[in-house]
């Protein structure tokens, strides 16, 4: 079981590096986004030490830089891959392998993410510098919440891949998912700034574990028991998503249509 998944992960990583211009543009885009967010938030904070929620400008910049770095590395590619392969019928080959479709896709994503980390390595010092990110007081809590948040992100992406077996077209859903997940992950505005009902909604959805929660742990906005609770809820989300994926995948098998003759 390990070798097939390692093979898919290797292909996912190689895929990340297939186009050099993409690699360069991605690094430039990440650094530019962090710079722009720094400019906007520095302007909004002008003359104030911290906002009413007690978040200093320095902590906010560190949070935003980290959240964007995380989002950039962990944004899933598999909905796009599945979309293309279902549309062209090449998903036939994925389904005809002795290894399951979902483990193949998850392994591909893991390899792609690892490739993304390598790709962004040159940009990380710049982001850390621009974001004035200093070492965290909760390294284990940060690693745990980030790793579990990543698993949630991959499982949500797998759900979109499976939905493609019904709709045959996941382009719009993928785009919507990307927008919604980035917004509710708090990559542009920390969730603690979300007003009223929007804040309640953001708190109830799982997207915050992909950005806000690990970044907030890193900068010290969440600590102690809050970290423990976040980890427990993440594990709960993973269990729930695993159940939903299992149930939907069983039905998806019977919905398979391979496009074209």
């Amino acid at each position: 079981m390990i070798r097939p998944l390692a093979g898919m992960a290797r292909v996912g990583m190689r895929f990340q590096f297939a186009y050099r211009s993409d690699v360069i543009m991605s690094v430039v885009a990440l650094v530019a986004q962090v710079f722009l967010l720094r400019m906007v938030w520095t302007s909004l904070y002008s003359g104030r030490e911290s906002d009413p929620r007690g978040l200093t400008l320095e902590a906010l910049l560190a949070y935003l830089s980290l959240a964007n770095l995380q989002a950039f590395v962990t944004t899933p590619i598999i909905p796009m891959i599945a979309h293309f392969r279902i549309r062209t019928g090449t998903v036939f080959f994925d389904l005809s392998r002795p290894t399951g479709y979902l483990p193949q896709m998850a392994a591909f994503q893991a390899g792609h993410t690892a490739g993304g980390l390598l790709m962004l390595a040159p940009a990380i010092p710049v982001v850390l510098l621009v974001g004035t990110i200093t070492p965290t007081e909760h390294p284990i809590g940060y690693a745990a919440t980030l790793a579990l948040g990543y698993v949630i992100s991959v499982m949500m992406s797998l759900l979109i891949c499976v939905i493609g077996f019904w709709t045959l077209e996941t382009g719009a859903i993928s785009l919507l998912y990307r927008l919604v997940s980035h917004f509710f992950a708090g990559t542009m505005v920390p969730l603690s700034f979300f007003p009223g009902a929007l804040g309640v909604l953001a708190d109830a959805l799982p997207f915050k574990y992909m950005g806000y929660v690990p970044a907030a742990v890193y900068v010290g906005q969440l600590s102690g028991g809050q970290i423990g609770r976040a980890v427990a809820v993440e594990i709960g989300w993973i269990a729930a998503l695993a159940g939903v994926l299992w149930a939907i995948w069983r039905r998806a098998h019977h919905k398979v249509v391979i496009q074209g003759g």
Binding site: V11, F93, P98
Partner: protein, 308 residues
């Protein structure tokens, strides 16, 4: 090795409405249209056979192949591949079959060919030494060495097809399904593919099910064909028997002195010299030839009869 009985596949899709609000109605409708792609097909294929599975576009060939691989679940009927029901025992079935589609590729478009081949070795857990041996054999048979490190997107169609054939056979499956493997290839590439299939069948006793529109593939490789149309089997047997049973009459093609060409059917049992003498008495002949019925003519005739 392969047993198919009363196999049927019905596809169900939302009814398509026309008119200004058609797309919206199509999106919301609970009305469905059904199309029978495969309709009660039965056949058996023994180990080591190369069988041509032929039919016009939309006849149900590819749908049958997809059910044989276990990817599609039949609406009714039975399939057994080496004693297994493909869609119930997908994993074991996957290890026993190789598949090549001429119209789509299992190779990763953006990566060098070798990456896709290594991935196949990993997915089928082929031991390293066996993989190296298989890869060397594929490189020798298909001449892959020159483009192993080339991204698939930069390969010619013929090179890509050779890569696909290698990917399908790297783990030595005893059964190979080939769906239009020579479509779009030039004469040399077609010949290379045919030689590979014949060699694979001869050396490894690989059972081959070949669907194609190129009857030269069939004549070069198959002793038996299964003809289907509209999801039903029209003929199952040897090529020679098919030609004998369904052959249209031989034809006498006459080139006349005024450059006109005329064709006369040679009725069964009629002596040819007698027909030539009759034609020569009525027309000044410059040249003549006799056209024997070919497989294409035979199959065209069967399809035409099934249309009636």
């Amino acid at each position: 090795m392969i047993r198919v009985e009363s196999l049927t596949k019905v596809f169900r899709r939302p009814h398509t409405f026309s008119g200004p609000l058609g797309p919206l109605r199509t999106l919301l409708t609970r009305r469905y249209d059904e199309r029978t792609a495969v309709d009660g097909v039965s056949f058996e294929i023994s180990a080591g056979e190369i069988v041509g599975y032929l039919g016009p576009n939309g006849a149900g060939k590819s749908t049958t192949v997809k059910m044989l691989t276990g990817i599609l679940t039949p609406t009714s009927g039975l399939i057994e591949v080496d004693g297994r029901v493909p869609w119930r025992d997908r994993e074991a079935n996957a290890r026993a079959v190789g598949v090549v589609f001429g119209q789509r590729s299992q190779l990763w478009w953006d990566l060098p060919l070798i990456d896709s081949l290594r991935l196949v070795g990993d997915l089928y857990d082929v031991p390293a030494a066996r993989f190296a041996g298989s890869l060397r054999r594929m490189c020798d048979l298909l001449g892959l060495d020159d483009f192993l490190q080339t991204p698939v997107r930069q390969l010619s169609l013929g090179q890509r097809m050779r890569g696909d054939l290698a990917a399908a056979m790297l783990y030595d499956p005893p059964i190979l399904y080939l769906d239009e493997p020579t479509v779009g290839l030039d004469v040399m590439a077609k010949q290379a593919v045919r030689e590979f299939i014949a060699e694979t069948n001869r050396l490894g006793r690989t059972t081959v099910v070949l669907t194609t529109h190129d009857l030269a593939d069939v004549e070069a490789l198959c002793e038996r064909i299964i003809l289907i149309d509209k999801g039903r089997v029209l003929y199952d047997g040897g090529i020679d028997d098919l030609v004998t049973a369904y052959a249209p009459p031989r034809r006498l093609v006459v080139e006349l002195a005024d450059d006109e060409t005329r064709t006369f059917e040679i009725a069964a049992g009629r002596p040819i010299p007698e027909l030539i003498a009759q034609v020569a008495a009525e027309h000044p002949i410059r040249d003549l030839s006799i056209r024997e019925p070919d497989l294409e003519g035979v199959i065209t005739r069967i399809y035409a009869e099934s249309e009636r």
